[in-house]
């Protein structure tokens, strides 16, 4: 009964996610697909050949986007993990102010901060560079990371760390063998979200990158506004690839943990 329900839910989710992709796949291989026609006139790999060729810049852009999103995520972990630990484990003076400041970029519309940020990057000489774009991406990414890690650390008992130290573990060994395994599920979710938030940034990349940092969303929009439906569809499919992969990883983890939990309840 429960297995059936689970299968049904899985199918519903897959349908919900996969169905909108079918027309996209169709567009990416269609030639001359006009309104009331059910099927395109011809099927061709032309758009894909172009999208994957060096002159389209899609692959280079894919690499740039990955580099920026991965670096942003890494920096967000390095800053957000200790910050989240402090916010989650300790009550200190000014804690609510820090929380408000952290939430601010998530609450304010991006366009409001873009101009100030651009001026700052110009002064720092980082406008139009990849490091500049990464720093700008940290503005919306860091609040996610910090708040998720704060929630994770609020449920972590620091006595485990004391116990590890007393059993002879150095601070680094304690983090690696005791703290990290405990916070890893939360950290992974936070990192995947951070990656996706950075991956899908348009406005910040456009303004800080000044057109010189060409990420996938920028390329997608330029082909879309040029009216090339087939190429746009092909790039769009490449663009949603990491999102789908991450969804698969998370779904697997969640169901995997569910199974582990029931196993623990009925050993």
């Amino acid at each position: 009964m429960r297995a059936d329900l689970r299968t049904l839910a899985g199918l519903a989710l897959a349908g919900f996610l996969v169905l909108p992709l079918i027309p996209l796949v169709g567009w990416s291989v269609a030639q001359g697909w006009r309104f009331p026609d059910l099927l395109p006139d011809r099927i061709s790999a032309q758009a894909w050949t172009f999208a994957l060729s060096p002159q389209s810049g899609v692959l280079a852009s894919f690499a740039t986007t990955t580099l920026i999103a991965a670096t942003t995520t890494l920096l967000a972990i390095l800053i957000g993990l200790p910050a989240g630990r402090a916010l989650g484990m300790y009550r200190f003076r000014g804690r609510s102010l820090v929380l408000l400041l952290l939430l601010a970029p998530a609450l304010l519309p991006g366009i409001a901060v873009v101009f100030g940020l651009h001026g700052m990057m110009l002064r720092l000489g980082l406008a139009g560079t990849i490091p500049g774009v990464i720093l700008a991406h940290l503005v919306p990414v860091l609040p996610y990371m910090t708040l998720v890690m704060a929630a994770v650390f609020a449920r972590f008992d620091p006595a485990f760390e004391d116990q590890a130290r007393s059993l002879g573990a150095t601070p680094w060994q304690t983090f690696r063998t005791v703290t990290l395994p405990a916070i890893l599920p939360g950290l992974m979710i936070a990192a995947l979200f951070a990656f996706l938030v950075s991956w899908s940034q348009y406005l910040l990349t456009l303004s800080i990158g000044g057109g010189r940092v060409q990420t996938l969303p920028l390329l997608l929009f330029s082909f879309a506004s040029a009216g090339r439906n087939d190429i746009t569809a092909a790039i769009a499919l490449l663009y949603i690839l990491p999102g789908l992969l991450i969804l698969a990883v998370i779904a697997r983890r969640i169901t995997g943990r569910g199974a582990a939990l029931t196993e623990r309840l009925h050993p």
């Binding site: 116990q163 007393s166 059993l167 150095t170 063998t177």
Partner: protein, 356 residues
């Protein structure tokens, strides 16, 4: 074999204003099993964490034999603390948990497996090494936590309330396990407890801490029968206190002169007598007492008495107490060898105040 000593150890938690530990001086002899006894909130756990290096003292020093370890981080002290909760790492198996400290030391896996297997059978967890901590009972988890510390053969082992999370039946079993393991290994061990009966049954030395200060240290029967102060006597269940003056082998008090044991000190004192030592019936130092209450406690019966208006309590067997009725009279005796003199204290003006 390691002797542990504390010198003027002091700790105040920020924001509380009150010292949790007030300059404790203490020596724990090599190879002894010592109970750190005191009511909740008296600074026992803080003292343990100071010894383990998990918090830093405001002043004072911790030494192992002659060498100070106050500046060393916890992992380099050779002191291992086992907490009240077992705190087994949930993502590791029981065997991995027990081998944790040895892995941190970088021992070869074969040696670790060997030590872990020996330890598992020593704490009667054979065959459970592959389980996760959540699959074990509370008592098994506590034994695994003890094994995880003992396998390291620390110079000093600290156990924080090791029996408090266990059911009464398991408590006795765990107490015997701790005692036998301690005697086998000879590791200098300190057990924190708030339960005086547990301390008396478990340890060969008791350190009583009251309000962040060392109140008395000695073997269990010394604290029980020869308390150094009123607060110590009260903590060990003392209820009979008579202020008065000792002169020429007699104690002059509200109940008249009482013969003291030879060698009793002279001057103003408070006389104490354990309730179980107060004898119902004729004997030395006899008095006629009125019975004010009779309370059946199971294995014992508590009898409230009034001698010339002074309240005293006796603990006796239910058989002996069966004939007693409140309002009646009985002859009681206060055997000289059971009388003990305490230094007089201002706190006697409020004898009903329990020590927290």
């Amino acid at each position: 074999m390691t002797r542990l000593s504390l010198h003027g150890l002091r700790k105040t938690y920020p924001g509380t204003g009150q010292a949790a530990v007030h300059g404790i001086d203490l020596t724990v002899e090599s190879g002894s099993l010592t109970a750190l006894l005191g009511p909740s909130g008296c600074g026992k756990t803080t003292t343990m964490k100071l010894i383990a290096g998990l918090i830093a003292p405001d002043a004072g020093e911790v030494r192992l034999d002659a060498s100070p370890i106050t500046a060393l981080p916890p992992e380099r002290r050779g002191v291992t603390m086992v907490f009240q909760d077992p705190l087994l790492f949930p993502h590791q198996t029981i065997a991995q948990n027990i081998g944790f400290g040895l892995r941190m030391r970088g021992l070869p896996p074969a040696r670790i497996a060997e030590s872990v297997a020996a330890m598992l059978s020593r704490v009667r967890l054979d065959g459970l090494g592959d389980r996760r901590p959540a699959a074990l009972s509370g008592g098994q988890q506590q034994r695994a936590a003890l094994a995880r510390a003992l396998v390291l053969q620390p110079r000093v082992l600290l156990l924080d309330e090791p029996l408090s999370n266990l059911d009464p039946g398991l408590r006795d079993e765990m107490r015997q396990l701790i005692r036998s393991l301690q005697q086998e290994t000879g590791i200098t061990t300190i057990v924190v407890t708030h339960d005086q009966a547990e301390a008396v049954a478990l340890a060969d030395q008791i350190v009583l801490i009251l309000e962040g200060r060392l109140a008395q240290q000695g073997p269990p029967d010394a604290l029980y029968r020869r308390p150094a102060a009123l607060a110590v006597a009260r903590f060990f269940g003392g209820v009979n206190f008579l202020p008065g003056r000792s002169q020429g082998g007699l104690f002059h008090s509200a109940v008249g002169p009482l013969t003291l044991p030879p060698g009793a000190p002279e001057g103003d004192h408070v006389l104490t007598l354990r309730p179980e030592a107060l004898r119902l019936g004729p004997g030395p130092n006899p008095r006629t007492a009125r019975i004010t209450s009779v309370t059946f406690l199971g294995t014992q019966t508590r009898v409230g008495l009034a001698v010339d208006g002074t309240a005293l309590q006796a603990l006796t067997t239910p058989d002996l107490a069966s004939a007693l009725v409140p309002g009646g009279e009985v002859t009681v005796s206060l055997p000289p060898e059971a009388l003990w003199l305490l230094p007089p204290e201002a706190t006697l003006s409020d004898p009903g105040q329990p020590i927290r």
